[in-house]
Amino acid sequence: MPAVAETLDTVQSVTEGTYKWGFETEIEMDFAPKGLNEDTVRFISAQKKEPEWLLEWRLKAFATWQRMQEPRWPAVKYPPIDYQDAYYYAAPKKKDGPKSLDEVDPELLKTYAKLGIPLKEQAILAGVEGAGDSPSEGGRMPIAVDAVFDSVSVATSYKERLAKDGIIFCAISEAVQEHPELVRQYLGTVVPPGDNFYAALNSAVFTDGSFVYIPKGVRCPMELSTYFRINAKSTGQFERTLIIADEGAIVSYLEGCTAPMRDENQLHAAVVELVALDDASIKYSTVQNWYPGDAEGRGGIYNFVTKRAQCRGKRSKVSWTQVETGSAITWKYPSCVLLGDDSVGEFYSVAITNNYQQADTGTKMIHVGKRTTSTIVSKGISAGKGQNTYRGLVRIAPTASAARNFTQCDSLLIGDQCGAHTVPYIENRNMSAKVEHEATTSRIAEDQLFYCRQRGLSEEDAVGLIVNGFCREVLKELPMEFAVEAQKLLQISLEGSVG
């Protein structure tokens, strides 16, 4: 579809007044009783048939969480969250594997269809026996999808293809059973259970998420991908993702999200841990499009996420790319701890806030190793009554000789009711390090708009075009599959912000 037609199409789908992906699938669920106490933690652990050490770990995290206070420093406002008024565990009822798509719960298929997941992958996701064994058609490099339908991974595809290279890509609960030594070795070593309020909560009650291990010297033959969905009413989602790239390994991981329309606010507190050993490289891309609430600011997801990477090895590299268009509130700082000499950290971000959305997002680059380098490019767009804050830290430890950081934060304001804020922290304790930070704030220039309008573009299309240009540096970092979706999302998110 040509870009313009596609844009019109997506814009239209929104102007009809509803969130395109705002549907709810009715599937039977297993629930843990509402509320949060030690029994909830034990219930989750028992449901997952977890070993004793993990239960202890969870209980310790829960005890820590009880002593902690919710952070108040982010520049976001929301009513107090009642942590007792939520379900902490919900899993689709497990049936024996269906023989074909015809046997799959039609509600589940409808969900996939609306998400635009190809039929072939739908079969794999729904756990149809035998699906995913044959090579993919059309010679296109497949994407391995680990769909998280609410809390439990419904299916993991391309597993066998990956297993040939010794790659482990599975649900973390499965990894706990199959590879306990790896999980135990790495879990909580990047984001310790007591790291912050939401990380502690997650450590206590996490129900699922992805686990990836790329062995020494292996380049992952395909992009690994997870679709997150928040589905059942009033369930918080607490994913835990752990990715380990062993020496010389290379992996690209995609995380994409859409969520059904809700009136109640929903809490999402995920933890993502990345570990890169010598010469390893991890690229982690996110397109986040959870329900942002309606035009009056009702409903929407609270997205309080802890994402952190440790570049433990020499010459290791971690690159975070995120496009944040959804959620009522986003509180998220994908960070890199650069321990290994010559390691590299990158953070590319686009965050859009429209209507009453609030985003407080950024990164931390902690330089410890020698000659470590980091790059931060952040593009914030505020429209409507949205509030958008970049908050970032660059810290150069005394050991980080000849470390280098470059940071660029640009904000774009659309309309006079929104806000754009920049709060960078720079801490340097090594004279041979060099840190540079630049930030600008402006609005869409009249002359740019005029130029586009004069050539027959509608005001909305012109804004879309300019915004895409503004974000280009970040969008080009996204893998192909995401780049297209991301551009569409930018346009949809800004719907109704001009004119």
């Binding site: 420093w73 005394p398 904000s411 304001l413 659309i414 309309g415 006079d416 009711q417 929104c418 806000g419 754009a420 804020h421 920049t422 709060v423 960078p424 922290y425 720079i426 801490e427 340097n428 304790r429 090594n430 004279m431 041979s432 390090a433 060099k434 840190v435 540079e436 930070h437 630049e438 930030a439 600008t440 704030t441 402006s442 609005r443």
Partner: protein
């Protein structure tokens, strides 16, 4: 985790209890109420700890632990007072105005001691600097004994006024909290060259608060040279309100003291007003200097410029925190801020937190920060032309600082600042 500092606060509150009856203005009900209110605020808040975001990088424990338990302010004789630069000068010794050292005759505007003028200052004192907002303002309000009061009438060019403050040599730590009130009426202008110094071996606290009101079209140049003694603390706070078309041009040079905070709150309150805040921090081993600025763009069509430079030697620590707040009404704001640090020692540390908070859409705001050592290529360039390393280094440092000083438009003020920087650097090279 940091502990809450109470000891220091208690010491000052105790001091207030002892001094209460002897502080100026105690027969004025409003002054009394102001002081008692401030004491309550200070009792409740105590000295800010590093858990308070605005004090994240500066630890006031050395001040709190110093126990300034003097019952009476020392009144030294002005020993070590630097020579005057020009004709007019107001001299403060240990925070008290000293007429015998001052020369204010023939000034085209009203200038005098705050202690003396106090009965006529009800509407001005505390109009901008409110004790509830900053603990150090509360401390100052509770204990101020004197200060300078300046009123430049409409349309008058006030010329240059020096404001010299000196601490006396003493065995016991002393603290003084002068309150300076400066008002320029419509179209008036003035240049203030402020210099604070003190003896090398004496521990003291200088806690000045400035309240500056600039009416329509007024122009104030405020050059501040801080050369406190090596054991001195200076915690200074400036509040400035800038009305339509007025200009406030502040330059602060932090070159002395053991622990120094230079905090500026400026409000661009009227359309087309301008604020320049520039400064340099020159730090040696053992020094800690913090420049914190809060600039409120509260009216449309205003411009602000900030350039701050820090040079660090030995085991010193520099802090820069600069916030630009653009209110929703402040359309067509033009804001720029740059802060740069040069680390000349492996033990030095710089912490920088530039911040933009923007609620208007038609704005042009940017900030930048760079931190690093002297550029090896620039050094090589100079060395290749036969310039010895020491000389080459000082040339580069001077050039680095010059950029901030260049912004000062008033020539007298600029010359004073250049001289102070050169003085610091020559001592450094020696």
């Amino acid at each position: 985790m940091n502990t809450v500092v109470h000891s220091g606060a208690e010491g000052f509150l105790h001091r207030f209890d002892g001094l209460r009856a002897r502080l100026p203005g105690q027969r004025l009900a409003w002054v009394q109420a102001l002081r008692e209110g401030a004491a309550e605020q200070f009792r409740a808040a105590g000295f800010p700890t590093r858990r308070v975001e605005a004090w994240k990088y500066t630890d006031l424990r050395p001040v709190a632990d110093a126990a300034f338990d003097e019952a009476l302010t020392i009144l030294g004789d002005g020993e070590g007072l630097p020579a005057p630069r020009g004709e007019r000068r107001a001299v403060f010794v240990d925070g008290r105005f000293r007429e015998e050292h001052s020369s204010l005759d023939g000034a085209s505007f009203a200038v005098g001691s705050l202690a003396h003028e106090l009965p006529r200052l009800e509407s001005r004192l505390g109009a901008l600097a409110r004790p509830g907002e900053e603990a150090l303002v509360a401390l100052n309000t509770m204990l101020f004994e004197d200060g300078l009061v300046i009123t430049v009438p409409a349309g008058i060019a006030g010329g240059v006024l020096e404001l010299s403050s000196i601490a006396s040599r003493s065995e016991r730590p002393s603290a003084f909290h002068p309150r300076h009130l400066i008002r320029l009426e419509a179209g008036a202008s003035l240049t203030i060259i402020e210099e604070a110094s003190g003896p090398e071996g004496t521990r003291y606290l200088h806690n000045p608060v400035f309240e500056i009101e600039l009416a329509e079209g007024a122009v104030l140049t405020h050059a501040r040279i801080q050369r406190e003694g090596v054991k001195g603390f200076q915690l200074g706070t400036v509040y400035a309100r800038i009305e339509a078309g007025a200009t406030y041009d502040n330059f602060t040079l932090n070159a002395g003291g053991r622990l120094v905070r230079n905090e500026i709150h400026a409000v661009l309150a009227g359309p087309k007003s301008t604020c320049h805040m520039n400064g340099a921090q020159l730090l040696r081993d053992g020094q800690h200097a913090d420049t914190t600025t809060v600039l409120d763009h509260a009216a449309p069509d205003c411009a602000s410029r900030q350039t701050y430079k820090t040079v660090l030697q030995g085991k010193s620590r520099g802090v820069f925190q600069g916030k630009i707040h653009v209110h929703q009404v402040a359309q067509r704001t033009d804001g720029y801020q740059m802060n740069q640090a040069l680390l000349l020692s492996p033990e030095a540390e710089i912490d920088s937190k530039p911040q933009l908070e923007i609620y208007a859409d038609d704005v042009k705001c940017s900030h930048g920060a760079t931190v690093g050592a002297l550029d090896a290529e620039q050094l090589f360039y100079l060395r290749a032309r036969g310039i010895p390393e020491g000389k080459a280094r000082s040339m580069l440092v001077e050039a680095f600082l010059q950029e901030a000083i260049e912004g000062v438009t008033d020539e007298t003020a600029r010359a004073a600042l250049e001289e102070a920087v050169a003085g610091w650097w020559s001592k450094e090279a020696a």
